[in-house]
Symmetry: C2
């Protein structure tokens, strides 16, 4: 079920620049009993990234109303859902030049929650290195935009059901993230993750984990690092808004223990999610 | 006017992966009196790039029939049109993983010819350097895929009507191409253009120019080069399937003469286009 520019629809104008150029961005949120979790943080990123892509952000009140409508009235509403918000530069003619007047397209859709094994949270997941290297592009780095062929091709590298995520380096051989998640590691009780100045997506759950860790007095370091560094880590974990925190129990043949920092951050995230849920307006 | 999977339509399924991930590719062709020029070369590239993106190419006969239908029956048909062929990985659920069964979406649309000043062919165009650097990505380099935010943002860097194209370097400061065209230069009677191993789109008109130049005994060199190299060139020109060859008369404040190699190649391309047109089946 989708609402597009306020109307229920299952189709979009063929002239939309989202289709022709991937000219837009998206957000993916967990919805619990009709309440989108961390909605405000997602909307803030959305509006910030619209600016970086040089198009006017959609009307915030309107968008929030439409999300509320979808999340409270959808027939597809379950205890857990995924909400996807997709904003494009709107309809335009042929050619890269943006239209004189930009009217962004607002698309919001409700999806079933993926049926991830609940064990992943507790016992961790298996991962592998992807061959495909993320491109280097400072103008687009960090943005959750619609140009996602790199992720599609990386995810096509494996088909084994017992591997839950692929880890990606960029063209400089820096470790960046998973195909659908951000990557953290712990070494000597400090928390590390990749800087995303050249490549990657600045996830909302990544931001929350960085904030929570810092507020707990953990040393947090955002830097460039290589494959060897993560292979000698004490703990490794993945984050995104749907999975929360998944401990990594293996990267290819290398095995990792699930350690105390990962467990503590999982607990903090759960507490914060609970508080968010209780405080949510709808 | 669009034909999508054989049916006249102005909309597309909201679940199409072309919209969500830019998961597809496209071709842009000149159409003269209903005949798409260099159709066979464009279809060959399309099928080759489907393979690189790991999805089954659409049925060639079916696609050709649909193109013929659009190009002979469209109400929008003029003496000159632009045909756009867009192929996506088709409809899919949420997530980067491709569906078990991929049914590519075939979209073909007829557009009016852009009203470029005819003087551009003869007197040349003004260009500028873009700030935005093309990313480095060997897996995607060369492919005319739907992830085109770099071009959109580069084209948004200027608004002056007397500048017809922006020239782009990549993250290694190699000169690659224009926002919508490939770039060539001539030095001491040899023809040069960028290798597209890291960045850029391998245009059909680029290929035709390379072929024609080689068949004429010109020395043709495809290599990596920097800004300074093109600024000391004898001649500079741009190519794409719609503009053919545009001589470059300036890059920012640097002025270029329009020389004999550019003129010779323009004549060769016109001759070849004429032959193609006469031989076309429809």
């Amino acid at each position: 079920m989708f609402i597009i520019n306020g109307e229920l629809s299952s189709t979009i104008n063929l002239a939309d620049r989202g289709l022709h150029y991937g000219d837009g961005l998206f957000e993916t949120l967990e919805v619990i009993n009709g309440k989108p979790v961390f909605l405000q943080l997602h909307l803030e990123r959305l509006f910030r990234d619209c600016q970086r892509l040089l198009f006017p952000a959609p009307n915030s009140q309107l968008l929030t109303q439409e999300i509320a409508l979808l999340c409270t009235h959808s027939e597809e509403l379950k205890q857990h859902n995924v909400l996807k918000i997709l904003i494009t530069r709107g309809v335009g003619g042929r050619g890269y030049r943006q239209p004189q007047v930009i009217e962004p397209t607002r698309i919001i859709g409700l999806y079933p929650m993926p049926n991830y094994n609940p064990d992943y949270q507790y016992y961790g997941v298996n991962t592998r290195w992807c061959q495909l290297r993320l491109g280097i592009n400072t103008a687009l780095a960090g943005i959750k935009h619609l140009n996602r062929l790199e992720q599609v091709l990386a995810r096509a590298e494996w088909d084994e059901d017992d591997i839950q995520e692929g880890l990606m380096m960029n063209a400089r051989d820096n470790v960046i993230e998973g195909t659908m998640s951000n990557l953290f590691y712990v070494k000597d009780n400090s928390l590390y993750t990749a800087s995303l100045n050249d490549s990657g997506i600045a996830g909302i759950m990544r931001q929350i984990v960085l904030d929570e860790a810092a507020s707990q007095g953990l040393i947090v370091i955002v830097h460039d690092y290589c494959k060897q560094t993560v292979l000698t880590a004490d703990e490794v974990f993945l984050t995104n808004s749907i999975i929360g925190i998944w401990p990594v129990k293996s990267i290819d043949t290398q095995v990792f223990a699930i350690g105390p920092v990962t467990r503590r951050l999982q607990a903090l995230i759960n507490t914060r999610k609970q508080a968010e849920y209780v405080a949510a307006d709808f």
